[in-house]
């Protein structure tokens, strides 16, 4: 098998707020097409680390490149080459499905023709034909999240960052969402995902667990379970994060 190249490279990356190290010298690499789970307790530093990687927060020290671009000097290029969705913000509730797709397609610099084509594909794939002209506010949460994920892929980014994409979503939709993730990864998109559902941690190719600003564990779910002598990722997490 050909060794796949790294799309994220992080070396001794830190972020200080005053004398508090929110992120403390973390290092890791993510390969193209990998599903990388980024786990940690509330307040462990995940969001701070993610903000540096998506180019909206400047690190205090250390090195990082995302999709080949430097987080210090090329933050704008990073933003153009990644997709992002979070539980808190994803789509505009007071625009229709169609308007949201057009808006985000435009933001990412797609031509009218490309947007039109992408919109048809996306509506078809998610089965949204009936609701293209409905306000996003009127859709069930699960539909919104699937739509938001597809919209984050409109410009065919190399990497997509997902911040707790499935919080509160019903179990069936949560699984349909993961099938979309698998499909995107299968097509070569790198997935960087945070979650509090430990069964979802099992779906990742590799998982890192942050504790107090540091990455305390990083491996495949299988190896982490062997290392910590447990049967579930939930127990691995409890052993590590409880200190």
């Amino acid at each position: 098998m050909i060794q796949k190249h790294n799309v994220i490279e992080v070396e001794n990356l830190s972020k200080l707020f005053g004398d508090f190290a929110a992120v403390n010298q973390i290092s890791f690499q993510v390969k193209a097409g990998e599903i990388f789970g980024f786990l940690g307790a509330n307040g462990a530093g995940k969001t701070t680390a993610m903000k540096m990687l998506i180019g909206i927060s400047s690190p205090t020290s250390g090195k990082a490149t995302v999709a080949g671009f430097d987080v210090y000097r090329e933050a704008e290029s990073i933003k153009k080459n990644i997709g992002y969705m979070s539980q808190k913000f994803a789509l505009y509730d007071d625009l229709t499905v169609k308007e949201n797709i057009t808006f985000f397609g435009g933001i990412y610099g797609l031509s009218k023709k490309q947007i039109e084509q992408k919109r048809c594909e996306l509506v078809e794939e998610l089965g949204l034909q009936e609701v293209t002209n409905s306000l996003v506010a009127s859709l069930p949460l699960g539909w919104k999240q699937k739509l938001a994920f597809s919209v984050s892929l409109l410009h065919e980014p190399k990497i997509v960052f997902l911040d707790e994409p499935t919080g509160g979503v019903d179990p069936i939709t949560r699984r349909q969402f993961w099938e979309l993730i698998y499909k995107a990864a299968h097509n070569g998109t790198t997935i960087f995902v945070t979650t509090h559902y430990m069964d979802e941690a099992e779906y990742c190719d590799r998982v890192s667990i942050m504790v107090n600003g540091k990455i305390e564990a990083l491996d495949t779910p299988k190896k982490l379970k062997e290392q910590y002598k447990t049967n579930t990722m939930n127990d691995v997490f409890l052993k590590l994060a409880r200190g």
Binding site: N42, G168, V169, I172, H186, D199
Partner: protein, 300 residues
């Protein structure tokens, strides 16, 4: 002195939030309302805490009628809403004092009840509530909901967005409160937390799917369930979704959970099919259903 809900319905315009819901929570029972966003959990909480009036049906809380005796209910219950709703610009101690005073009591009088929880945030008692971490906010909100020694405690998604460690600690606190005789109705979208309740109601789309003990609910799963493993998860899901005898197939941790349409399923035949689909390291074995499996079956 628990909670009695009889044929409650509530609509918002064309949207039916609750459709003919009935349930009873026994005194000092830890009762879980399990379902995703939009199931109607918050609407039910708002009706039972007398913040909203149902279109139809009756309900009593701690023996009081939600319509006629709403004032008595308000004195007897603690309510922790899903959204953090303490005063962000008051300190931890000021918030607690405020809620104690409103209910005509003092922190000292009921300190026993909140001690276990409050000691964990006491070092930060002079910090403004808005500056607390998620886990600490949650502990303060629970302390405030308990400070007047309620008979019934309503917790609306107290652990949503909370990491597994803090979630575990939170449930340990609930168990201790239950032992002190408090009736607890708690909602959650996390199916693994359902197993920690005495009884649960599975709810989706404003309807109750089933009510029973977690153990009995799992026992009602209608078909033999299998774990299937193969190296390529995406390939495995895609292949099994197109398999002619598939009844259900869902990713579940490192496996997929599979049920077969036939009376007797043929493990060797499925293996052969998956090999033919190009999958490797195939393993198939029987497994026990979880509450999540049952929920998905009922919600289909």
């Amino acid at each position: 002195m628990g909670i009695l809900v009889k044929n409650i319905s509530k609509s918002y315009g064309k949207l039916t939030a609750l459709s003919n819901i009935s349930l009873d929570v026994k005194p000092s029972e830890l009762y879980g309302l399990i379902g995703p966003d939009g199931a109607g959990k918050t609407t039910l909480f708002r009706i039972l805490t007398t913040l909203m009036i149902a279109d139809k049906g009756q309900a009593t809380v701690a023996g009081y009628d939600v319509l006629k005796e709403y004032k008595s209910i308000r004195k007897s219950v603690g309510y922790m809403p899903g959204r953090f709703s303490l005063y962000q610009d008051l300190t931890v101690e000021e918030n607690l004092n405020f809620f104690a005073t409103i209910f005509g009591t003092t922190i000292e009088e009921n300190y026993d009840l909140i001690k276990d929880i409050y000691v964990q945030i006491e070092p930060f008692k002079n910090r403004r509530a808005g500056k607390l971490s998620g886990g600490m906010k949650q502990k303060l909100a629970l302390s405030c909901a308990l400070i007047h020694k309620p008979k019934v405690l309503f917790l609306d998604e107290p652990t949503t967005g909370v990491d597994p460690v803090s979630r575990k600690e939170f449930w340990e606190m609930l168990k201790r409160l239950q032992q002190k005789g408090i009736t607890i109705l708690v909602s959650t979208p996390y199916m693994d937390e359902a197993a920690l309740c005495d009884r649960i109601a599975l709810i989706q789309g404003g309807k109750i799917l089933e009510i029973d003990t977690p153990k009995a609910i799992v026992g009602h799963f209608p078909k033999p369930l299998y774990n299937i493993y193969a190296t390529n998860m995406y390939g495995l899901i895609t292949s099994m979704s197109h398999y002619e005898h598939t009844y259900s197939v869902f990713p579940f941790g490192e496996f997929v959970h599979y049920t077969d349409k036939r009376e007797a399923m043929d493990v060797e035949e499925i293996k052969a099919y998956l090999v033919q689909q190009g999958l490797t390291n195939i393993n198939i074995e029987a497994t026990q259903p979880t509450i999540e499996d049952t929920f998905m079956e009922l919600a289909k």
